[in-house]
Each structure stands twice: as C-alpha cells, then as structure tokens.
Amino acid sequence: MKKILLLLPVLLLLAPLSLAQDMEHEPWTCPEGYEGQTLSIFNWSTYIAEDTVPNFEEACGVTVNYDIYESNEAMLARIRQGNPGYDIVVPSGGTVQRMAEEMLLIPLDMAMIPNVANLIPDLLGAAYDPENTYSLPYQWGTVGVGYSTEVFPDGITSWNQVWEHDGPVAWLDDRQTMLGIAHLFLDNDPNTTDPDEINAARDYLLEKGGNVVTVAADDGQVLLERGDVDIAIEYNGDILQISWDCECDDYAYAIPEEGSNVWIDNLSIPVDAPNPELAMVFIDYILDAKVGADLTNYIWYASPNQASIESGFIDEEILNDPAIFPPPEQVANLFAIIDVGAEAEELINNAWDELLIFLGQ
C-alpha cells in the first residue's frame, strides 16, 4: 500500500492550473526517412481520437495497423504468447512493471522522443517504472460508476448503492480493480497477495453480485447507453464519452466515497516489435501539445501533458470537470494497481474464473 502512496501525491498536483495561455504552436513534423513503413498499434477500445492515426499516417507517409483490446490481461496474454507483430501497446502502471519484469518491453530511446519535455514532471518516475525506461504516460483516469440519472436522480455516492440496486448492473472485466474494491470493504490491502484475503474478496463480490447481468469487457458504457443496465462500473472517460455523444444529461459518472482505482496508462514498445524506431516517433507524436490535447478532447480522459494543458488546446469544460480531473481530497482516497507477482496473479485469475462461473448461478 505504501508503495502506491508514493504515486498519489503526484496525482494530487494534477488538478490543473488552467491558466490558458495561447502559445504559438508549431505543428508536429515527422522526421525524415519513414515513408512507406508500417506501424502496428495495440490499444484499448475507444481510446483514440478519430484523426490521431490518419494525421500521423499523413505526416510520416506510413501505414498504421490499429487493433484494440479490452483489458490489460487480454493484451498481456497476446504478447506473452509471442508478440504477433505490434509496435505499440498501452499497459497500465502495474502491467508495465509486470511486463518489464518478464522482459516483454524494450527500452525507450529518449533522444528520439524530444516531446517528453511536455509531460508533467511529477508524473514521470512513478514507482512502476522509476526511470521511465519502458514507458511514458498516455492518459490517466479512474474506475467508477456510470449510472442512469433517470434511475438515480440523487446520484450515487457509495458502492453499497451499486450492490443493493434492484435492477440490472454491469461490472467491469478488470479483475484486480474489482477485487481491490472488495478489499477496501474487507480492510485489506487492495493489492494483497494473501490467498485467504483474495478468496475472501471473491466471496464478498459473489455475495454482492446478485444484480449483475454481465461482466462487461470495457463496453459497459454501451450497455448503459442501450438501457440494458442502470449502472455500469467503467473507466471514467468511457462514460463521459456517451454523455458527450448524446448531448444529454442521461448519464453521470461518480467515484464512490469508499474509494476506487486510479491508473496511468502508458505508451510502451513490446519485445519483438517489427518497427521500434517508428514506434518512438509515434510516441513523440502523441506527446505533442496539440496532438495530446486533441486526443483528450475526444476521449475525455485526463492528460499527462503539461504543454497540452497550459497551451489552452484542451477544452475548458474538460479541465474543469471533476470526473476527469478529480479534486485532491478524492484522489487521496484512491488506490493504484501494482504488480502482484506471478503467484498472486494465478490466485487472482483462478478467483476471477470462479467468480464468473458462480455469479450466474
């Protein structure tokens, strides 16, 4: 637990000082010599702006393959089985640590990524990758509750409201986060490796999961939008995206008072990547102030890019939204997922399989 606390003060500082200064911004230019090459990106679903990739293709004269995944575990499984040819992956903090330890990532060459200077300095050197050898922040955010404001006109403030709701609920297929939330109620470390504690968390979730109709793989917001569930446990930006899409107040996002998960997703290059040089060029492109801002404006997650925030490229609405940049006192209440090691990982996977099986009984 203490290890994570090292990370939290950092996030406390992130509530942006949005002194929008309109700076002159030179559009990002691609270094010479990549024309005709191919870059393959493996990213979370609904996690990029419509024009991010086409603009990069145009700037560099390259072709981009773009595939999506729904969870850290799914991406990890794919890379562990032998990288099928991806140049970029986007693991969360604990997964970066895990992958680095298993030698599944290759070191970044900062000389090729000058835009690293744009990042908020406090977000660099996090506990999961102290020297930023393998990763640079992409976006950060929280896990919380997306809900229908029609069903909950007074909002949601506690996980107990989720457990006790008499109506369909979707959970998030993010095992460490879900078990971590149960650990909060059981007074355990959210990243515990103790077998009994892990099983207790599984049983806690089983007991509270009577209203769960599906454990959604990063598509809970769609179920909420279709009206198939009243509550979806999801990543904040995904819920905000549907509110923005429908231009309505039908959906809201809340972080329950008991606490939840805060995460940083990172740009990394997996081992056996066919084109690591172009991957670093892409990372530099993403860290450009304008590109990063456009990204955040589209996907509604918090930007780690100081230049994007200060340049005024990010919409005021986003900078001032507590669901995206939570206030410091709320951040203090959140836990981060760390690498629990191979043994605990297997325990967690088994517990999660069992949970999926018995939830539907």
């Binding site: 191919t38 393959s40 493996f42 679903s45 609904t46 419509e50 024009d51 990739v53 086409p54 393959n65 773009y66 595939d67 999506i68 089985q81 032998g82 990288n83 099928p84 040819g85 991806y86 793989a217 598509d219 769609v222 939008e225 279709r226 056996d272 066919p274």
Partner: protein
Amino acid sequence: MRQSLINEGALRRNRVIRRLGSVGLWLNPIFAYFFLWAPILILVLFSFNNSRSVASFTGFTLKWYSNILNNVMGAESAFSTEIMLNAFRNSLFVGTIATAISTVLGTMIALAMARGKFRGLRLLDGLLFLPVVIPEITQAISLAIFFKVVFDWAALISGERIFPGFHTIIAAHVTFNISYVAIVVRARLADMDPQLEEAANDLGANPWQAFWRVTFPLILPGVISGALLAFTLSLDDFVITFFTSGVGTSTLPVFVYGLLKLTVTPEVNAISTIMMVLSTILIGISLAMQGRNASRA
C-alpha cells in the same frame, strides 16, 4: 355390430386428430418463418432509421449507407469506416486464396476416394468428416497453439520470428474448407458414370487427356458449387479467424465483432444489410449452378 361402433369412435377421434394436425402443420411453418425472418427484417428496417434508437422508427434515411459509400468512393470519411473497408478487402483476399487452395485439395481427394482402391479409405472418410463436426472453438484454439509452438521452434532454430498473419488465417480456412469441397464434389462424382472415362481411355486418350476432356467438364458444376460454399464459409468465419489472425489482418467478421460490442450506430445495421445482400447473390449463383447441374444430370 359392436366392432363397427368402436371403429366409428376411433374414426371420429382420428378425424379430430387429423384436423388438429393439419392446423398444426400450417401454424408451424407460419411461426417458424416469422421466427427466422423477423430479426432480419427488423435489422434491415432499422438500417434506414433516422435516429440511433432501435425501439422506434422515427423517419427514413439513407445516411448510414452514404457514410459507408462515401468511403468506397474515396471521399473523406471516418477512421473507423476506413478500417472496416480494409477488413472487407482482407476478407476477400483470404476468401479467394483459401478457396483456390481448398478447391484443388478437396477435388483431388474426392477423385482419389471415388476411384481409389487403397487401404485406409474408411480412415480417410473419418479424417474428412471430423473437421465438419468438431466444435469451432476447439479447432480455433488448437490452431492457435499449433502456430505458437511452430513459430517458437522456428525462432529458436533460425533466430527469426515469424508473425501470424494472412498465411495463418489462410491455412486455417483451407483446413476447414477442404472437407466441404470434398463432400460436394464426391456427391457429383457419385452420380457420374465411370464408364465414360474408361471409354475415353479405350479411344486412346491418355489419363491426363481423359481427365481434362471428359471427367473435369462433368464434375465442374460440383467443383464450382464446392468452391462457392468454401468462399462463403471463409467470408463468414469468425471464431477460427479470431484466434489465428495477426496484426492488421482482421477480416470483416472480426471487425464486426468488435463493432457489435462497442457501438450502437445504425451503420452496423447498414453493413449487415449489405453483407446479407452480397451473401444472397453468392448463394443465388451457387444454386443456379446446382440447378444447371441437376437439369443436365
């Protein structure tokens, strides 16, 4: 007297049963056709719906189709539409190559089994039958593991990593297609008179000529409908492709799967309608071929 009375009762009962039965025999098809077609009609209907809702039809529009068409015409369009068309091209590419290989291999084994007199024919029957009946997911994971093992070995030996891609998808598709082609061609061969080829041989044709001049034209309708079947199966396959595809080689079903889970846009309905029309045309051609085949036989 008594005997005939019982018969009278039995007959009346029989008549009631028959009437009920005939009503049932009419109701069942009506119900079944409704069940089979309602979802598809709803899908088509809502592909023309003005709003995103699937609960009520608010007005007619072609905008979901024009979004898709715009891209075909090369006009500027959304990133996701571009990925979709790319997936469609991948599907056609995989389907064409897999169909070509599996048609040749399937026809060869069908011919061998029709005239072959060698041991293990029944074993071959089983070998051809198994890919048809084994659950898709089993075949999918077995191929995924197989390619992983082979590529790991290759990397150990040569130091070069091979990545999964079109070659793995095509190999997988050929594997499940062979059986279907063989079954169709064998059915055609079973109807054929073996004396025709013998006659050609007697008339001095060498086996090569006898095959291309006599046998091949006769089994051609079977080969074509086998190939069309293989092509449709290829285009339609999701599970096996999902497990064997590499980077940037997603086929249309794999793309659609991602879309079904992540969007509520009626563009999905429009794409479905287009795909259905395409399949209908393909199967129409295949049926026409078989019809010609039947009328000639």
